[in-house]
Symmetry: C2
Subunit: 362 residues, 2 copies
């Protein structure tokens, strides 16, 4: 189907399976103007209360001395690993084969920072202590993503995470957390963000995924580490004259969504159970460990998509506009993140809509 036609169907929908209700730029800017107050001045190259207060608040949530707001997580993480590498005196950094740096950043860590990536473990599973123990050469840093997005938001058991980080620490390996979706982890671990972050030297968190911001990220760590990160931020072209649209949207997102993360998690668990009851659906991980999951759907890909778009047109309920292929021709995946919009759809109704999708696609 023509992309314009698909976008028009989406525009006419009022209910959405995935994430939060999307706003147009006009709606988002107007709601941001209403959220902020007349006494708030613009930031300037990282200075100004609007940005420094927010950095302090997030540092406190994460139990770190300092934090710096940057335009992107890509920037935060390359910079964190570069500084860890310079401190360690080796440019070798370890991460999972499906790490964001390895698969989504055009090898910026190599091209810009001359770091060498050591891929640890198996793509489809979490990195284990045994995997880490096979690394024979010294590592400057180990990056662990919590939860791990590319495999459905899986999380290591708390004891496994503690063992992995303790081993790294004992071997002089700095620990960096890719916490793009860290906000999702509390319910599973039963530990606060501060306790989870305490296992790491540096932590990156994002604001436009679960928190509904516009863009932007924070890197948190010790005061001297963050001071060095600010130098690299300028080198990257990320010390923007004004970042306030992103900072304000991030603050609004924290206020609106952080307290609701347990509700999103509970919904993910109940919805996954309802969906897994369908013979054409498998859920990874089952049960979900966060408010995200990967659905595996069996059937003809094109027909499934057309069926979902037809249902969107008829019912105003947006399910999915595409499916990602797997190596099996009749098996496809769909990433599902439970947000404010998902909460408004009863589990039984979602399961029924998927039943209709499969029936139409037969």
């Amino acid at each position: 189907m023509d992309p314009q036609a698909i976008m028009q169907i989406r525009r006419n929908c009022t209910r959405f399976l995935n994430g939060h209700y999307r706003q147009t730029p006009q709606q988002a800017l107007a709601s941001l103007a209403a959220y902020t107050t007349p006494d708030i001045d613009a930031d300037m190259y990282g200075a100004g209360a609007v940005i420094t207060d927010f950095e302090r608040d997030v540092a406190q949530i994460l139990g770190k001395e300092a934090a710096v707001f940057m335009p992107s997580g890509t920037m935060c993480q390359q910079i964190a690993l570069r500084i860890h590498a310079e401190r360690a005196g080796t440019n070798r950094v370890g991460f999972h084969p499906l790490c964001h740096l390895e698969i989504h950043e055009q090898q910026g860590y190599q091209e810009l920072h001359h770091l060498r990536g050591v891929l640890i473990g198996d793509p489809m599973h979490l990195m284990t202590l045994a995997n880490l123990q096979t690394v024979a050469e010294p590592l400057a840093a180990l990056l662990i993503e919590l939860p791990q997005r590319e495999i459905g938001g899986q999380l290591p058991a708390w004891e496994d995470l503690v063992a992995l980080t303790a081993y790294a620490r004992a071997h002089g390996i700095a620990l960096h957390m890719d916490g793009a979706r860290l906000w999702q982890c509390n319910s599973f671990y039963g530990h606060g963000y501060e306790e989870i972050a305490a296992l790491f030297d540096t932590v990156y968190v994002s604001f436009y995924k679960d928190l509904g911001g516009i863009a932007g990220a924070i890197l948190a760590g010790s005061a001297d580490f963050i001071a060095r990160a600010r130098v690299w931020q300028r080198r990257h072209g990320g010390n923007l004259v004004q970042l306030y649209p992103y900072v304000l949207a991030a603050g609004k997102g924290l206020t609106e969504h952080l307290a609701r993360m347990p509700a999103y998690y509970d919904k993910a668990r109940s919805l996954a159970a309802a969906l897994a009851a369908l013979p054409q659906i498998s859920i990874v991980p089952d049960p979900p460990q966060t408010n995200m999951m990967h659905m595996y759907l069996r059937g003809d890909r094109e027909r499934l998509v057309v069926a979902a778009l037809g249902i969107a047109q008829e019912t105003g309920t947006w399910l999915f506009p595409a499916l990602r292929p797997t190596s099996l021709p009749d098996l496809h995946t769909l990433e599902l993140t439970v947000g404010a919009a998902t909460l408004d759809l009863p589990d039984a109704e979602i399961a029924d809509l998927f039943r209709q999708v499969f029936a139409r696609a037969e």
Copy 2:
């Protein structure tokens, strides 16, 4: 004086010597929401009409095949020089000693891109053809800033610019324009942006300086060059999931200010003449060649600043909150860019306010 007190004085002012009227984030976001329309959807990682239409429009203004919007000029320019260097097979790039890359970017071009800078000419003057002819080693690219901000917005005469770029071209040196303030150049040259840009392979322009945007920049050039630049943009962490606040503000700025640049230029010329009549003031360049200039003020620095703040408090007219030192203890500089706010102040009144500043500071 306490920075908070200074900010409070500024908040109470209604008239401003420098630039455009400043908006609080709340005002800027609300006016941006009013500027955009409900049918405009958010961009996504560089895709979407809101960003691609704007890139096409600016490419057209500059007479280039393609353009890419990035969060900052720092990113645009390092990337442009990196690509020119890879094409040329040397990492040596030439620029003026006061080039932004050399003095404001923490040597990102060296640290991230392993480029070597060749500083050409004298810091206080424009680069000349004779300067360029002294460079004995091959250069991948030559960066020319039009106008040159750190020396008051000076511009080479058109014939000199043509000769400089022709020499570079004849010697296989790629040409990159730092056009952060290119929008100011039309009146002086009597040539359109497209004609000026035609002397260069790649051009960077900015949107938050003369055009009153929030942040953001564009790099324009050939289609294949810009395609490569997009790869580097992702490596830099500049391919943001959403850039629409910056893009929309840039579009609004072009609409509101571009046609007024000749008026800003005329005002700069008349204002400079009025100010230069004061014995304590010199103007560089005199007369101004764009809508910016550097003022040199003679007197006691601290007393001049206190006097200007006092006048701001009493008259609601904001002159300056600080002066930049020179190597002479009683000589200080002030950068002045004529914008919408300046237009509303009669030249004679500004000159009279400066007369009062000097009288009080005696």
